[in-house]
Structures are given as structure tokens and as C-alpha cells.
């Protein structure tokens, strides 16, 4: 016989949850006492509930497991909202356990009461309000099932304090399986549609594979790579999909979209067949939807039917799990009597190589390297070299995020961890914390700016408490870089509220205060040696404050509004 609080923690254990990120408070105290009295589920005490959500999110992105967080009612719950929305936009499986005031006080404006189910409703996959302690095991089972299957997403479980009361005990049994009549995640794709898709692919003359976060969530990178190799098709990844296809492979065109490579965007524009897989034709990818890829037949594979033909109509829609659809496609391709049109594909590669000679991944002059100032792109390139391209890169949001996405070529999935959909500044550091918890020995980097880092900087203290040796690479341009870039481009360089004047902290001293190491780099010549110094300190948190050229802009950049995918700015002076 167990109390509601004990049942909750036991259910987490039985679900295989190894760690919970959280922060205690009044309504959660019974649960926290249950945590104290066991050893199976580890709790990580964050410094702000938003960070608990981002840490659980990062943990999930790196491992593929469901991230879990536990917070108290009222402000504890509301503080998680940005983190939940971040996970929701990027389809990250997460279970949010929020305590609630005692059930007979709900609706009475009790102390620390907020309608968590209501407030989180638009940004969750589903939510539960526990109405009786005996429901706790089955609700937890359902919560993890819903969060992790189909198109993954966050699930909130709101638990009134009286339902975790230690004085009321119940028989505990954790359900072995779950079946819900109202929830049946998509499985295999339609065989006829897959056949049609493969026929299109085999007949293609200018194909592009455009893959997104769904391939990573669906653990299907190897299948994607196998298919692309077999067909000899070029591959581009979305911001969320980086690492799904090896970034250093010649068939990789780089990221596409607003800050995608010249070759990826141009190839998309001229393609005759596009295989969109686990991607959702986000507005940052398509530019003007009516001008998007005018010559292409579009095959769209997604587990979520609502993603298909939402902004761009699919010619061959396939609803299904990416893994099973890729397997079916591969077996059809392998058994096809006639392969691809090799001559046409050869011509297509020749065309792509021509584009590459003008600008792109393999072009020497992707950015100006002649000056003395440190270019942010170069910092990412050096980071890539020093970490041998094998680190977990957790990014904040802004110019540094785009530079990281463009210049750190990810060869493996789940190594690039960033807030793609919501664009949450402050995500990077707590996410890195979650990744380091998941893999204590891994090289975990938070790439950030002096703006983003200050949005969740309190977590430096959590890093101290749990000995999490995250490396923080701060591309410090003393301005909100992306805002400043747009102000340069569209507002005649009127820098409205995007500058810090002289208000930035002395990061070295700040790191020292937390027990960490701070390094400042101002000279271009010092960059590599300081970076090596930083990563040589394996057991320490090191903050590299790199003073970069503040005038740098992120290019290429799609021309908007009314541009197509081939309309790009390539530098401050060049346009396609």
C-alpha cells in the first residue's frame, strides 16, 4: 500500500525514469518527501523552473528518452511554460509533473493556485488533472505513452496536494501496457502511396531529399543515409534535422531555408522531385509558399497528418512513421528492375558542383577572413576542429545559433540541440545541463551569445552542484546580434534597444564566483590555443568569452517578402 506521492515516484521508476529535473514548493512537498525516501529516481535541483523544462528537453533530445520535470503549483508551474512551449514546437517528448493546491481549494484563488491545465493547454500534446490518487499509476503510464509515441510532445500531469497525502494509501500496480480508443498513433505508411513515391524518385532528374527533425525523433538517420546513398541523391537538412545525414558527406548540401546554404536553397528551387521527410515546410524554410519549388513534385512523409499539405501541397502524401516508410522505400528501391536515371543524376550533380563553386559549404570564402577581428563563423570552425566534430552542441538563439548550424558539420544525430520552432533565448545552458546529466563523459558545449546566456544564467550554480563540466562558448558581440542585423538591413541601422552599452558583467569574475573558469579571447591569433585550453579542462565548467566582430551578419539570407528559395543575399554586397 502506497500513498499518492509514493505511487507517483514508484510509477516513474517503473516507467524507467532515471532522473527528474525540478524545484520544490508547498504543494509538491509530499512528492518531494517521497523522492527523499528512495534512491531509484534521481532529482536534479535547478535554479528556475524554466531551466527544469529546458534541461528535461535537452536530456530528451540527446537520448531519445522522455524528459521529466517536477514543479510546484502556481509560479512553479507558470515558470515552466516557455520550456513546455519550446518542447511542443520541436515535438520533444516530455512529461511535466506539476503540483496543484488541494482539490477542494481549486477555483478559490488559493495561495499559489493557477489553472495549469488551462494555461498550458495550447502548448501540450495532452494534459491530465489527477482527480483521485488511485488514478496516478494509470495516468503516468498514459502520460509517457502519449508523450513518446506518434508525433512526440509534452504532456502535463497536474496533481492536487491532497492526492499525494502520505496518510492515505492505496494498492499500487503499474499497468504493463496502455490502450486508448481515442489515440492511435500512425504506424506504417500506405503501401500504394509509397510505391508511387518510389516511382517518382526513380524517375527523378533533379531530386533533393529534404529531411527534418522527424528523422532524428524517429531514429532513422541510418535508413535515410542508406536511401540517399543508394539513390545518389543530394540531401539537405532543416535546422531541426541537422545530423540526420552526415554533415561532412559530399552528398550533403547543408542546411536549407532562411539561412541555408546557397547550394541547398538553389537546388531546392530547381528540383523536379522533392522527398520531404519528417519536415514540416516551416515558414523559415519555404520563403514565399506560392513561389516555393515551382518545378517540383513533392513527396511528403510525416507521422502527423496535420503537417501534410498545411502550407505546401503534397503530390504524394504519406502518413506514417518515418522509420517504417524509409524501410518500405528502401526495399522497393532495392528490388526495382530499373534504377535511377544515372545520366540525369550525373548532370544534376555537375550543376550542384557548379553552384558550390560560386558559394556554399565547400567554398573558401563563405565569410570574410581577411580582417584582424575574430569572426563568429571562425569560432565555430575552430570549435569543430578542437572537438573533432563530435561534441553535443547546445545552442541558444540568435546569430550564434545560425553560425553554429552553418559551420559545425554534424555527422551524427542528436548532437545538435537547439530551440528551432519557438526560438527560445535561454535554452542553451539548461539544455546542455540536461545533456551532461544524460552522458557524464560526453563533451557538451553550450554555444551562446552574451544576450541569450543572461536569460538562464542562474543555472551556472546547478552546474556547480552536480559537477557538470559544460563548456560555454559565448560569441560576444556586445549586442543582440540578430536584432541588430535586421536593424541594419531594414531600419537604417537604428539600433533600438539592441545594445547593452557598458552594462555587461565581467564574465571571468562571474565564473569565478560560481567556482568556474572564465577565459576571454580578444585576439584572433589566440583563438585556437585558448579553445584548446578550454577543452583541456575536462572536469571544469569553462566559459569562453570570445569578443567577435560585431558588424558581422548571417548569410546567406533568403530575400523576403515575396522571394523564392533561390533569392538570397550572399553577403552585404552580393545577391543572387
Amino acid at each position: 500500500m502506497l500513498s499518492g506521492g509514493d505511487m507517483l515516484i514508484r510509477a516513474l521508476r517503473d516507467e524507467g525514469v532515471e532522473c527528474v529535473f525540478g524545484y520544490p514548493g508547498g504543494a509538491a512537498l509530499h512528492i518531494y518527501d517521497a523522492i527523499f525516501r528512495q534512491k531509484d529516481v534521481k532529482h536534479i535541483l535547478v535554479r528556475h523552473e524554466q531551466a527544469a523544462a529546458h534541461a528535461a528537453d535537452g536530456y530528451s533530445r540527446a537520448t531519445g528518452k522522455v524528459g521529466t520535470l517536477l514543479v510546484t503549483s502556481g509560479p512553479g508551474a507558470t515558470n515552466t511554460i516557455t520550456g513546455i512551449a519550446t518542447a511542443h514546437m520541436d515535438s520533444i517528448p516530455m512529461v511535466v509533473l506539476s503540483a496543484q493546491v488541494v482539490s477542494d481549494k481549486i477555483g478559490e484563488d488559493a495561495f499559489q493556485e493557477t489553472d495549469m491545465v488551462g494555461i498550458s493547454r495550447p502548448i501540450v500534446k495532452h494534459s491530465f488533472l489527477v482527480s483521485d490518487p488511485s488514478e496516478i499509476p494509470s495516468i503516468i503510464k498514459k502520460a509517457y505513452y502519449i508523450a513518446s509515441t506518434g508525433r512526440p510532445g509534452p504532456v502535463v500531469v497536474d496533481i492536487p496536494k491532497d492526492h499525494t497525502d502520505p496518510s492515505r494509501v492505496f494498492e499500487y500496480q503499474y499497468p504493463e501496457s496502455v490502450k486508448m480508443r481515442s489515440y492511435v498513433p500512425a504506424g506504417r505508411g500506405h503501401a500504394g502511396q509509397i510505391k508511387k513515391a518510389v516511382q517518382l524518385l526513380l524517375g527523378a532528374k533533379r531530386p533533393v531529399i529534404y529531411s527534418g527533425g522527424g528523422v532524428i525523433q524517429g531514429d532513422s538517420s541510418e535508413l535515410l543515409t542508406e536511401l540517399a546513398k543508394k539513390l545518389n541523391f543530394p540531401v539537405t537538412n532543416t535546422l531541426m534535422g541537422l545530423g540526420a545525414y552526415p554533415g561532412t558527406d559530399r552528398q550533403f548540401l547543408g542546411m536549407l531555408g532562411m539561412h541555408g546554404t546557397f547550394e541547398a536553397n538553389t537546388a531546392m528551387h530547381h528540383a523536379d522531385v522533392i522527398l520531404a521527410i519528417g519536415a514540416r515546410f516551416d515558414d523559415r524554410v519555404t520563403n514565399t509558399p506560392s513561389k516555393f519549388c515551382p518545378h517540383a513534385k513533392i513527396i511528403h512523409v510525416d507521422i502527423d497528418p496535420a503537417s501534410i499539405s498545411k502550407t505546401v501541397s503534397a503530390d504524394v502524401p504519406i502518413v506514417g512513421a518515418v522509420e517504417s516508410v524509409l524501410k518500405d522505400m528502401l526495399s522497393l528501391v532495392n528490388s526495382a528492375e530499373q534504377g535511377t536515371d544515372q545520366e540525369a543524376i550525373g548532370d544534376w550533380w555537375a550543376q550542384i558542383d557548379e553552384w558550390r563553386q560560386r558559394h556554399g559549404l565547400y567554398h573558401a570564402n563563405r565569410f570574410d577572413t581577411s580582417g584582424e577581428r575574430i569572426k563568429p563563423q571562425e569560432v565555430v570552425q575552430v570549435l569543430h576542429e578542437v572537438t573533432k566534430g563530435d561534441a553535443y552542441i547546445c545552442s541558444d538563439v540568435g546569430q550564434h545559433q545560425m553560425f553554429a548550424a552553418q559551420y559545425y558539420l554534424f555527422d551524427k544525430p542528436r548532437r545538435w540541440i537547439n530551440s528551432g520552432g519557438l526560438g527560445t533565448m535561454g535554452f542553451g545552458l539548461p539544455a546542455a545541463m540536461g545533456v551532461q546529466i544524460a552522458d557524464r563523459d560526453a563533451c557538451v558545449v553550450c554555444i551562446t551569445g552574451e544576450g541569450s546566456i543572461q536569460m538562464c544564467i542562474q543555472e551556472l550554480s546547478t552546474l556547480t552542484q552536480y559537477n557538470l563540466p559544460v563548456k560555454i562558448i559565448c560569441l560576444n558581440n556586445q549586442a543582440l546580434g540578430m536584432v541588430r542585423q535586421w536593424q541594419d538591413m531594414q531600419y537604417d541601422s537604428r539600433y533600438s534597444e539592441s545594445l547593452y552599452e557598458d552594462s555587461l558583467p565581467d564574465f571571468e569574475k562571474l565564473m569565478e564566483a560560481y567556482g568556474h573558469v572564465g577565459i576571454t579571447v580578444t585576439q584572433r591569433d589566440d583563438l585556437r590555443s585558448k579553445m584548446e585550453e578550454c577543452f583541456a579542462m575536462k572536469d571544469r565548467v569553462v566559459f569562453m568569452n570570445v569578443m567577435v566582430d560585431r558588424s558581422e551578419h548571417v548569410y546567406p539570407m533568403l530575400v523576403a517578402p515575396n522571394g523564392s528559395m533561390r533569392d538570397m543575399l550572399l553577403s552585404k554586397t552580393e545577391r543572387t
Binding site: 493547454r121 495550447p122 495532452h126 494534459s127 486508448m180
Partner: protein, 163 residues
């Protein structure tokens, strides 16, 4: 184009707010809404009317289907269907008007369900168009209060929305 979407969903707390929330969140419009439990008390039947083209309706139905509490749904306007709405309407009925309103009620096959010396309360059932027509024929000047249930609907023939 006007659509009638009929939804079978879990009769659970919060289920209705998820459906309604989806509409505001995604910028869709609800014109009418009616909901009640079915013969199976664990299920509710919700009928709503909305306006949109095929693309918009496809998105609406896909997104509704994604809601965990939604078990099944159908766009009734896709096929032959029966549509009904109930209206209770309170009108001034005195002098010569009294007989005229009674006649009009009969023509629309309505019933006078409550009477005072100056007021009739009329119950009338039919398609939304029929109720609109009745309101028009009574004339705004006589109307004191109108209560409409929102549209309910069911497919004709052998088609059934059940689990």
C-alpha cells in the same frame, strides 16, 4: 462554405475546452456548438458549424483528430445528412398580432409552449435556415428573446458515427 462537423469524444473534464481552444488557437471560427453525452455515458457527441474552404476544413478536421480526447469525427456536410436546431422564442402577442403569430407558428410547424395575456413563447425545430426564416417572418419588433440550441446533425442512411 458552411460545414457541420460532428465529433465523438471522451466525456472527460477539459475535453470541450480542448476543442474550443483549438479553434481560437488556430484562428478558426465556431458559429454554433452543441454538446451532450451519448447513450454511452463515457462519450459525448459534439456538433459544431464553421465556415471555410476545403483546405481549411481539412486542417480543422486533422487538428481535431489529433486531440487525444477526440475519438472520431465526421464532416456531415460531405454527404446527405439531417440537420436540426431547436429555438425557443418569446414574442409580444397582443391584439390582432396574437392570431397572426399563431398562424405563422403553425405554418412553421412550431408549438406555443407558454402563454400569458401579452406573450407567446414558441418552440420551433428545423434547419438553421428554417429558424432564420421564422425569425424574419415574425419581425424584429415583436421579438423579446431568442434562444437557439445550435445545430445538431446526423448522417442519412446507414452511415453511423460510433466506436
Amino acid at each position: 462554405m458552411r460545414r457541420i462537423v460532428s465529433i465523438l469524444m471522451e466525456n472527460a473534464p477539459g475535453a470541450l475546452s480542448r476543442v474550443v481552444g483549438l479553434f481560437s488557437q488556430r484562428g478558426y471560427n465556431i458559429d454554433t456548438l452543441t454538446v451532450a453525452p451519448t447513450e454511452d455515458p463515457t462519450l459525448s457527441r459534439l456538433t459544431l458549424t464553421t465556415v471555410g474552404d476545403d483546405h481549411k476544413l481539412e486542417q480543422i478536421t486533422k487538428n481535431l483528430n489529433k486531440l487525444i480526447d477526440v475519438v472520431k469525427l465526421v464532416d456531415l456536410s460531405d454527404g446527405a445528412h439531417i440537420e436540426r436546431e431547436l429555438m425557443l422564442i418569446k414574442v409580444k402577442a397582443s391584439g390582432a398580432q396574437r392570431a397572426e403569430i399563431k398562424r405563422c407558428t403553425d405554418i412553421f410547424r412550431g408549438q406555443i409552449v407558454d402563454v400569458t395575456s401579452t406573450i407567446y413563447t414558441i418552440q420551433i425545430v428545423g434547419t438553421a435556415d428554417k429558424l432564420d426564416a421564422f425569425v424574419q417572418s415574425i419581425g424584429e419588433a415583436s421579438i423579446l428573446e431568442v434562444v437557439r440550441s445550435g445545430v445538431s446533425g446526423i448522417a442519412r442512411g446507414e452511415k453511423v458515427l460510433s466506436i
